[in-house]
């Protein structure tokens, strides 16, 4: 990909999976987001980088419907608006992998994948709430296999898995219930080198399944390997964007810390001074 051919705006050239339009969010006097527009295309991996307090997490929470913006809107696909509310993300087809993963350690992989979406046996009265573990195990195994995650069994408690395996289970769960988009917050933050590599490969597999992927990470080196676009945020605005393949660490850091803005998208608001 020729970097000069890429327009310097946070917009995907693929069919949009999710689009945030002119998002503003204020906490007290702090303007967390000052009119941010960002879209993630289907099958595309977009990395959101920036210093602490740049507004990455706020943007991600708004995009998954966990909090509502003061202004602007989030649209799934071309037309379905994301409405804020605690459980809306999953219901609207946005998969989210939180930094703490939100896995229940005592429950097995299959129970975690299906928690809140249990399959009940159809040959018994529904009011009994009898679990169809067999069906869930087969489906959970298939969901892991689609992402090339290898676990000997889905009937192992999550507490016995390694950090990378837990991350993989959390991602597989998000993908299983997502329809278009998966958002990930710091997926490699607590992992060792090899496990982090595996998880990044996994994220690439997710995009190859056709999902739009938006991830927050500080792991610049690995980001550059997997991301199609690296979007840099600073003080509540998008200040730069690089094609993943051609970005250099120096360029990204310069943008994060306040070098010359490379973004001229009017919808992104005034570049931070």
């Amino acid at each position: 990909m020729d970097p000069s051919a890429t327009p310097p705006r946070s917009e995907s050239r693929r069919p949009a999976a999710i689009t945030a339009l002119a998002i503003r969010k204020q906490y007290g006097h702090v303007e967390a987001l000052r009119g941010v527009s960002l879209s993630v295309g289907l099958g595309e991996i977009v990395a959101l980088v920036g210093d602490n307090g740049a507004g990455k997490s706020t943007l991600m929470k708004i995009m998954c419907g966990a909090i509502s913006p003061d202004a602007g809107e989030v649209v799934l696909g071309n037309d379905v608006p994301v409405v804020a509310g605690r459980f809306n993300a999953a219901e609207q087809g946005v998969g989210v992998v939180y930094q703490d993963l939100a896995l229940a350690p005592h429950l097995t992989v299959l129970e975690n994948v299906y928690l809140g979406h249990e399959v009940l046996r159809t040959d018994r009265p529904r009011w009994l709430g009898l679990l169809d573990r067999r069906a869930m195990a087969l489906e959970a195994q298939a969901a892991l296999q689609r992402l090339a995650i290898r676990l000997p069994t889905v009937r192992v408690p999550v507490s016995l898995l390694s950090g990378g395996q837990r991350q993989a289970v959390a991602i597989a769960r998000a993908v299983k219930w997502a329809r278009r988009v998966v958002l990930l917050d710091e997926p490699t933050a607590s992992l060792g080198t090899r496990q982090a590599d595996i998880v990044m490969n996994l994220i690439r597999n997710v995009a190859q399944q056709g999902f739009g992927v938006l991830l927050i990470s500080h792991d610049m080196e690995r980001l550059a390997r997997v991301a199609d676009r690296i979007v840099v945020m600073r003080r509540g605005t998008i200040v730069a964007e690089f094609p993943g393949a051609s970005a250099t660490l120096a360029q990204i850091v310069e943008a994060m810390l306040g070098g010359a803005p490379r973004l001229a998208d009017p919808r992104a608001g005034a570049p931070a001074a």
Binding site: L120, Q165, M200
Partner: protein, 357 residues
């Protein structure tokens, strides 16, 4: 930093990185089985010490009868513990339920009607106390420890106010002779059959149903349960009502065994129920329930009590023995079950007392 070597790992490398720990075993009934073994050994020791008086049909069926109430309470507690909550008011709830049931029975002339409606009143009262606890925990956000500590006092107080401190003994005598002390085939006490049926149903609920899975999820990670969209308030309400209901059934068994309420009893029931559940393998901090373990843990306390009497020691030693067994069982489990939880014991205790963040 450009696209250099892609981080594609070989299959072997991935398998190594994702391999399960060597000590992995599927979730089993290990704790229940081991405590069952302890029960058997205890029975055999007491039998040997008592010239096998302890191994007679009479003695074993007494254990079943004496154990029926504690089995019920242990199972009720196991459900709550599994969900990361506890109820220390269930002993008081047993008393109040028997008082309400006894008062109801006294209001009816026909023994049959008095027994049936009285039984319903016991269970209803137990469930109502559970619902009260749940309402305080979920609406006022008071931790279950503080809530049920308070309701322990409130419920005991109400029982005394209702009775002026005098036991109620207007219980139909037929209830005692046909249920309370009656035995199926001269061997199986009816209250024990009731407790057994309750245990089978509880086992089924924990391991086979969505309700059981949600209960474990609540105790394993409250945050994960919330994010998964589980109706936390509804589930907690049902769980406290279930534990309260088990206390209500105990109140009914109490009335039918002794044809009277027992205002001064049940002081240690709640703690004994928690101890029995934990000895049996239920996790004090949630996430794991063993129904079989709760049954055998409850029976162990009864075996110790009856056995000590049979060998001529004061039954008071039973309290000491149960305490020692509790410490032994839990410390053994802490040592053998690594990887069960990465959180230190102290912070889990704080979480239990102060509530989930």
């Amino acid at each position: 930093m450009t696209v250099d070597a892609t981080a594609d790992l070989t299959d072997q490398e991935q398998d190594d990185a994702l391999a399960l720990p060597a000590n992995w075993q599927p979730r089993t009934a290990g704790a229940a089985l081991s405590i069952f073994g302890v029960d058997v050994v205890a029975v055999l020791i007491f039998s040997a010490l008592s010239h096998f008086v302890f191994l007679t049909r009479q003695s074993l069926s007494n254990i079943a009868l004496d154990g029926s109430e504690s089995v019920l309470l242990c199972i009720g507690s196991a459900f709550l513990l599994g969900a990361g909550e506890l109820d220390i008011s269930i002993g008081a709830n047993v008393i109040l339920s028997s008082v309400v049931g006894g008062k109801t029975m006294a209001a009816f002339g026909s023994p049959l009607a008095a027994s049936l409606i009285g039984a319903c009143a016991c269970v209803f009262c137990g469930v109502a106390v559970g619902a009260f606890n749940a309402a305080v925990v979920t609406r006022l956000r008071v931790t279950s420890f503080i809530t049920t500590l308070a309701s322990l006092g409130i419920v005991t107080g109400i029982a005394y106010v209702l009775t002026n401190g005098y036991n109620i003994s207007d219980v139909p005598l037929g209830l005692q002779s046909y249920f309370g002390v009656a035995k199926l085939g001269g061997l199986l006490p009816y209250p024990a059959l009731l407790a057994f049926a309750f245990a089978v149903a509880a086992w089924f609920v924990v391991y086979r149903t969505r309700f059981g899975l949600h209960t474990l999820a609540l105790g394993s990670s409250r945050e994960a349960a919330v994010r998964a969209g589980i109706n936390v308030r509804g589930r907690l309400m049902a769980l406290f009502m279930l534990a309260g209901g088990s206390a209500g059934v105990c109140g009914f068994i109490d009335l039918s065994r002794y044809a009277s309420t027992n205002l001064s009893g049940h002081q240690t029931d709640a703690l004994a129920a928690i101890a029995g559940a934990v000895i049996g393998g239920t996790n004090l901090f949630g996430g794991r329930i063993s129904i079989g373990g709760a049954v055998f843990g409850a029976l162990l306390a009864v075996i110790l009590q009856d056995g000590l009497v049979v060998v001529g020691l004061a039954a008071f030693y039973q309290l000491i023995a149960v305490g020692i067994v509790l410490i032994t069982a839990v410390s053994l489990r802490e040592f053998t079950q690594s990887g069960d939880s990465s959180t230190p014991l102290s912070s889990r205790l704080m979480g239990l007392l102060l509530g989930h963040a």
